[in-house]
């Protein structure tokens, strides 16, 4: 059966929702929210179908699609044509991220029930953002990747700036400018590669760069790699390029933070792994120690600052920085365990942070605060929500049996093998993670209550769906990690081949 329609449909299916929404009257709140939610489902169904297609033992390359798109020509007939293809494809790693994106997008659409105004505009932008994210993870060449990457910027800018909290415009601007700079650097890298090699296809590029006769000097390659590191370092974010991300986490509406922290930050990790490691393995190796140190700095810096925050959103924001440090640590190990740990961490953190930010949204909806002190005694007022919050925090700090543990364990296992001293320093971060998360969560659930919880209801109705789905996935990965590791096997082998050669 010919399956090459699947990916295009998967990526662009949310557009259907946008078109439908355009014809709905803007006062029909319930209908708009329903259509918005339903529009995320085709992508979810297709991505799961692709996953089971893979589990059934069939090839992922069945889904690849490629068509001519843009030709840049020199004016002389004998000059090479620079072609950009419209090409989408899936590897195991990409498949996992697509599934993660589809799941988190649907669950965020549920969280978008808290949106108070202009639902129509919100969902249209939200669905456009989903197109961008799905495209980013399926694009097979750098120009297409860049196109989808920038498509995520504009809706996010508006979603933060219009539907966010008090300082939303400032947050939207710092998001735009930091990410704009990051993507500007990325564009330079892409265009230099394109102009020098004549292609932007990731696979072809990695072959060409490995080829010693390629028209790129060693210095240029190193320069390009460092530029990539900066471009994706803004997105990940790597300390000291992180300040924009704190503002976004605090100011954006819950549905958008779920997406942002769950998926958008992962684009940075994805780019580092797929392009940084995939195209420039030698250069990655040269800078591995630096990356390990940056990873440990991220881990410790995030953890220590998370410890002193009074706003739970800020705790989670710093915790994201800290957890992204673990991704860097795993990658810097440059061995199978490390890289696998890093990828596990990407997915596991996507699920955990989506869960925690959803709960923050639930709490804020009822109490209009996310300050830890103001939420004291939560366990009495909202026992179920408090229970899930605690469980989410446990997953985040790496309790065995949950997804956080598997990824942290493997990332550190990898790094201990090659850089035991740096890894040893890093373990302080793991302890700190437990400390700050428990301080924050216990401060909310069990501390002295400063308020009455009389009129406040616990989780109800559809709110259970995101919480339970995410919790189940977290536990599933924790107890049965091969749901992730088996699709990753082929990807890891390719990467290790590039590295070890």
């Amino acid at each position: 059966m010919n399956l090459n329609w699947v990916l295009s449909t998967l990526v662009f299916s949310p557009l259907l929702g946008i078109i439908l929404l355009a014809f709905l009257p803007k006062t029909q709140e319930k209908l708009i929210k329903l259509v918005g939610l339903l529009a995320t489902l085709p992508a979810l169904v297709l991505s799961l179908a692709a996953y089971f297609h893979y589990l059934a033992g069939k090839k992922l390359s069945d889904f690849s699609v490629s068509a001519e798109w843009i030709q840049f020509r020199g004016m002389n007939a004998n000059e090479p044509i620079f072609s950009v293809y419209y090409e989408l494809g899936l590897s195991g790693f990409q498949l996992l991220l697509v599934v993660l994106t589809a799941i988190v997008a649907t669950l965020s659409a549920i969280a978008a029930r808290y949106v108070k105004k202009e639902w129509k505009g919100f969902f249209m932008l939200f669905l456009l953002l989903e197109v961008g994210m799905l495209g980013v993870f399926t694009a097979e060449n750098l120009i297409l990747f860049f196109l989808f990457f920038e498509i995520t910027l504009i809706p996010t800018f508006f979603l933060i700036g219009k539907w966010g909290y008090f300082e939303k415009e400032k947050a939207a601007y710092s998001f735009l400018i930091y990410n704009g700079l990051g993507s500007a650097v990325l564009l330079i890298v892409i265009m230099i590669l394109f102009a020098k090699t004549g292609t932007t296809n990731v696979e072809l590029l990695s072959q060409m760069i490995a080829d010693p006769t390629a028209p790129l000097s060693a210095d240029l390659k190193l320069g390009l790699f460092i530029a990539l590191l900066i471009a994706f370092g803004v997105k990940l974010p790597i300390f000291p390029l992180h300040s924009w991300m704190l503002r976004v986490h605090v100011q954006a509406p819950p549905a958008v933070v779920m997406i942002h922290s769950g998926i958008l930050l992962k684009i940075g990790a994805y780019g580092l792994i797929r392009f940084g490691m995939g195209i420039f393995p030698e250069q990655f190796e040269m800078l591995a120690v630096l990356l390990a140190i940056l990873g440990v700095i991220n881990l410790l810096y995030g953890a220590f600052l998370a410890f002193i925050q009074s706003d739970f959103k800020m705790v989670l924001a710093y915790s994201s920085i800290s957890h992204m440090g673990i991704v860097l640590i795993g990658l810097a190990a440059m061995n199978e365990a490390g890289i696998q740990g890093a990828i596990f961490q990407v997915i596991s953190h996507g699920l955990i942070s989506a869960l925690l930010f959803f709960l923050v949204g639930v709490l804020y909806e009822r109490t209009e605060t996310s300050i830890i002190d103001h939420l004291g005694g939560l366990a009495k007022g909202m026992p179920i929500a408090a229970g899930f919050l605690l469980a989410g925090a446990m997953a985040s700090l790496g309790l065995p049996g949950m997804s956080g543990f598997v990824s942290e364990f493997m990332a550190f296992l990898g790094l201990f093998k090659v850089q035991p001293w740096i890894a040893a320093v890093g373990t302080i971060g793991i302890i700190m993670t437990a400390v700050y998360l428990l301080r924050a969560v216990l401060g909310m659930t069990f501390a002295q209550a400063h308020r009455k919880f009389d009129a406040i209801v616990d989780l109800k109705g559809v709110e259970y769906v995101p919480v339970i789905v995410l919790m189940l996935l977290i536990v599933l990965i924790g107890v049965y990690p091969s749901v992730l590791s088996s699709p990753l096997q082929a990807t890891l082998e390719t990467i290790m081949l590039g590295l070890g050669g």
Binding site: R73, M75, F146, I154, G161, L176, I177, L187, F194, A195
Partner: protein, 503 residues
């Protein structure tokens, strides 16, 4: 010269020019004999029909061989056809704006002139694209300039409009004089005004003294034309003139006039100085030797245009600086002299035409309603007129160069050229960095449109002409962003610019 020789020329290749010329004459006469009370709008529609007819005939001339009349004073090559199509499309859209423009502050007495002066200016630009001789190039330039001076000041009772015209006349004529002075050196050295003859003579230039003279002439021409392009540091007139002129005139100056500026820059610099030898035959051409000067102007234009735009509170001044910045991006393509230079400049001008004219259409609606031109007038536009707001949003995103729009593909083309040849890394980096700076002010306008509450919630009336312009520009901006090859292939298949240009 006998009548037979005159008739032996293929005058058919000038059909588009003749159409415009005849219609200008007719409009002048109509205007004279029409009763005072009669609405002059009909003249605008006739002008539009003429532009459309000229466009069709120009397109039908594509694909033929190079032809010339009167010793190359008029030549029809692929370059001329490609850029004439742009100029006609731009002028056509401007005409739609002009027809929808509400006449006030003295303009109501000169509505006839308002329409046919656009056509004379257009005729000037068309002559410029099709000329292989310094004299006709200069005549075209002056026809454009003089028409523009009057257009800028046509709101007779408006102080700003008068100031605008005055500044434009003084700056414009000084710059023309400087360019002309530069050209006189070239004439002095070669004894001819025919561009290709000049090129042939200069390519065997031996005397280093002469090369030095030619260098001075290059700089003078560059400075004179940089005025026309509003490139830094000769850009100071642009914001004042753009602010004072009526909106359709501003749109004309920022798009059609700028396109014509690039046409003349390419014609003169490439043919004359691209061939001039620096140290005897076969040596590095003077243009490559002088590349750094263009690079400095390009860099300065991008930086100054984008940075000063951040401070603007008047929407027309903002877009004046924005169009200065875009001239800078285009100059990057001129600097790099890569093999896809014609392509990238042509495509960028096409994208720029679409997005900028669309923006001025929105400005005309909004500023026409509020009577002021403050950026804050756009507050709450999304509430008042969602479609207008979304259209403006798409156009701004294209101006900022986000993927999925024509503006992005245009920038991509320029980058390709910058990285492909010797690698103008610094210039390309400036271009990317200043693009990020431009996000501030483009998104600043968007902030007003989408985030801020409206002071006044009345709806807008969108005239037919504006609607046409908005639909064409928005659809075009997206279409050429997603399927750029529809435009690029047309160029490639029908027009062989580089071969035609020098033959």
């Amino acid at each position: 010269m006998s009548l037979d020789t005159l008739l032996s020329y293929n005058w058919g290749i000038m059909t588009p020019e003749f159409i415009i010329l005849v219609v200008i004459a007719l409009l002048t006469i109509f205007d004279l004999f029409m009763p005072k009370t009669m609405d002059r709008k009909i003249l605008g529609w006739i002008g539009l029909a003429a532009i459309f007819a000229a466009m069709v005939t120009t397109a039908s001339l594509a694909g033929g061989s190079v032809e010339s009349i009167l010793d190359d004073t008029f030549r029809l090559d692929s370059f001329a056809i490609a850029f004439k199509l742009l100029l006609l499309a731009g002028a056509g859209l401007v005409m739609f704006l002009a027809v929808s423009h509400e006449a006030k502050e003295g303009l109501e007495n000169y509505k006839g002139e308002f329409y046919y002066l656009f056509l004379t200016a257009l005729l000037g630009t068309m002559i410029m694209t099709s000329s292989g001789d310094l004299i006709t190039l200069y005549i075209g330039l002056e026809l454009l300039s003089i028409s523009s001076y009057i257009l800028a000041g046509i709101r007779k009772n408006n102080l700003k409009s008068n100031e605008s015209a005055m500044k434009y006349v003084i700056n414009g004529s000084i710059s023309s004089a400087i360019a002309l002075f530069g050209m006189s050196y070239v004439y002095g050295l070669t004894g001819t005004t025919n561009l290709l003859d000049i090129a042939a003579q200069l390519s065997v230039l031996m005397d280093s003294q002469h090369v030095y003279l030619l260098g001075i002439s290059f700089l003078m021409i560059l400075v004179g034309l940089a005025f026309k392009l509003a490139a830094a540091p000769f850009h100071m007139w642009a914001p004042d003139v753009y602010q004072g002129a009526p909106t359709p005139v501003t749109a004309f100056l920022s798009v059609v006039s700028k396109t014509a500026g690039f046409v003349i820059v390419i014609r003169i610099l490439l043919t004359v100085f691209g061939a001039a030898a620096t140290e005897g035959p076969g040596s590095v051409p003077l243009l490559l030797d002088m590349q750094d000067y263009i690079a400095v102007i390009a860099g300065a234009t991008m930086i100054i245009g984008n940075v000063v735009a951040l401070k603007q509170t008047n929407i027309k001044r903002l877009f004046a600086y924005s169009s200065i910045a875009h001239a800078g991006y285009l100059l990057v393509a001129v600097t790099t002299l890569s093999s896809n230079m014609f392509y990238s400049i042509w495509f960028y001008l096409l994208a720029y035409l679409l997005m900028n004219l669309g923006v001025f259409a929105v400005i005309q609606v909004v500023a026409g309603k509020t009577g002021s031109e403050k950026i804050t007038d756009f507050a709450g536009l999304y509430r008042r007129s969602p479609w207008l707001a979304v259209a403006m949003g798409i156009l701004l995103i294209s101006l900022a160069g986000f993927p999925g729009t024509a503006g992005f593909i245009g920038k991509l083309n320029i980058f390709m050229g910058a990285f492909a040849t010797e690698g103008h890394y610094v210039l390309a980096s400036i271009m990317i960095a200043t693009t990020v700076i431009s996000y501030f002010y483009y998104f600043g306008v968007m902030t007003q449109i989408f985030f801020r509450p409206a002071a006044d919630t009345s709806k807008f009336h969108i005239p037919f002409g504006i609607l046409v312009v908005l639909i064409i520009t928005v659809v075009g901006s997206i279409w050429f962003g997603i399927f750029p090859n529809t435009a690029l292939d047309f160029m490639h298949n029908n027009l062989n610019i580089i071969d035609d240009f020098f033959s």
